[in-house]
Amino acid sequence: MSTFEFKTPVSDEDIKKVHIGDVIYLTGDIVTGRDDVHHRVVISGKEPPVDLKGKAIFHAGPIMKKINAEGEPDKYKVISVGPTTSMRMEKAQAEFLEKTGVKIIIGKGGMGPKTTQGCIDNCAIHTIFPGGCAVVAAEEVVDVEGVEWLDLGMPEAMWRLKAEKFGPLIVSIDSYGNNLIENNKVDFNTKREQALENLKGKLSYME
């Protein structure tokens, strides 16, 4: 297990250095996008309003607050922003990578075979930020540069964030087709069968 510090735009060379279980701290451009953003880009086929090449997409629906900033009427601050369940984006993620050139996906829980293939094809990775740790994440965001598609509502909009040493991001899918959470699940399923076996006869409350 190694630790890396990356800056956006992230290159293919950077991505090739990392394997599942490695940890990354990311500095630079992170854009939020979850169900609706993926729907718009992949299913409705809309052009993303910002260039996402080499950047990170963060599966997150933040709590934002408008602040009074001189000359900037639409300035926001992050109150709380943590990862949401990545698996919900499984259907659209690979195509999203292909269309946008995003290099790092940030979310929680694992993703499936389509995304794993998408990461191989587009030299990209999926990473996990510890779930529920949204204030830690908010404190690693140094600026909210702007927001796109706010008509989708606060959680679903595309927030453009500048982050510093954003992490820990634990690599769960690398660009070589390895999938940490899927590996874990195989292990969990074996242990589940064992646990069920151990319960046999112990819950016979019906006579």
């Binding site: 997150a60 629906g61 933040p62 709590i63 607050k65 109150i79 709380s80 922003v81 943590g82 949401t84 369940t85 698996m87 929680k108 829980g109 694992g110 996990i128 510890p130 779930g131 529920g132 740790c133 949204a134 204030v135 830690v136 908010a138 404190e139 509502g153 606060m154 959680p155 679903e156 820990p168 634990i170 940490l180 959470i181 874990n184 699940k185 292990d187 969990f188 399923n189 242990k191 589940r192 064992q194 646990a195 069920l196 151990n198 319960l199 046999k200 112990k202 819950l203 016979s204 409350y205 019906m206």
Partner: protein, 297 residues
């Protein structure tokens, strides 16, 4: 607007805001115990980030998780509580106020219109569950933030009685190994057992309102809680699903009589950020914030 309505909504709004940023005492205690045990692999690092998050949420007065859920209230109203008429309006006002001030994330999406209302108020949002407590003049209120990730494993179904209690355990184990990793483990698992699916589902959520580490008063139910808890822990989901020595904060079961021909089960899960808060309010609006001892609103 009547004075009691304002007083009640202001109190509930600060109670909600506080509980968005602070986990209840029993959950904090259990997480601290689990952190001691989880000393291998990714687990210690993740527990450290979780701990740092709790500290930052407290010092910065922020919601500890961005997903502040769909607001749900479980009201146990004393039959002698003098302000029956105002409770519902006061709770709705409180949700509006807490959403703006805490701030909470606006999560209420109107079904069919598919629009976020922007203030957590919508059709049956906040969700209010009512119970009447006889011979009491207090309002006992539980507030629960039902996040997306931790609501995802929830389900209820009706088993054939011959599937037995093992059938319930099997369904819970399967749900936890498939959806559990997305529910920000370690979770608290709530199980309801009854005669029909909606009763079982509701009881499973009520089970989550019980303290972590508490036991069902029926010895067999308490035994089943322990057996399922130990079984789930032997799977070792670890924090965040990265693997570890444990899986869950606990398993709570609640039951109602079943029909001879049905064995209905419901399951709800609470993530590690189990934002459950309970308060008892007297007619003069003095209160006991019993899930968060020493907290000042």
């Amino acid at each position: 607007m009547s004075i009691p309505r304002e007083q009640l909504s202001a109190l509930v709004a600060s109670f909600m805001s506080y509980s968005a940023g602070h986990l209840p005492d029993d959950v904090k205690l259990r997480l601290a115990q689990m952190k001691e045990i989880e000393n291998e692999g990714f687990a210690p690092d993740i527990y450290n980030v979780m701990e740092k998050n709790m500290q930052l949420a407290d010092s910065l007065k922020r919601p500890s998780c961005q997903d502040t859920g769909i607001p749900q209230f479980f009201a146990r109203v004393g039959s002698k509580w003098p302000y029956m008429d105002i409770i519902e309006d006061a709770l709705i006002d409180a949700v509006k106020e807490a959403t703006a001030k805490a701030p909470l994330r606006p999560n209420a999406v109107e079904v069919f219109d598919e629009k976020n209302t922007g203030n957590n108020i919508g059709t049956h949002s906040p969700w209010i569950d009512w119970e009447i407590v006889k011979d009491s003049d207090e309002l006992e209120l539980y507030f629960y933030m039902a996040g997306g990730g931790c609501s995802l494993p929830g389900f209820s179904k009706v088993l054939m009685p011959l599937e037995g209690y093992e059938g319930i355990a099997k369904a819970v184990f399967e749900q936890m190994t498939t959806y559990g990793v997305n529910a920000c483990p370690p979770c608290l698992v709530g199980i309801g057992i009854a005669g029909s699916s909606e009763v079982a589902a509701k009881l499973s959520k009520k089970a989550l309102l019980r303290q972590v580490g508490s036991h069902n008063p029926n010895p067999k139910a308490a035994e089943m809680e322990k057996l399922i808890e130990d079984g789930l822990n032997s799977i070792g989901l670890g924090p965040g699903g990265f693997g570890g020595k444990l899986s869950v904060m606990g398993v709570n079961i609640e039951q109602a009589s079943r029909h001879p021909a049905t064995l209905a089960m419901g399951m709800s899960t609470a993530c590690w950020a189990h934002r459950r808060a309970g308060i008892k309010i007297k007619p003069d609006f003095t209160y006991d914030f019993f899930t968060h001892k020493g907290a000042v609103l």
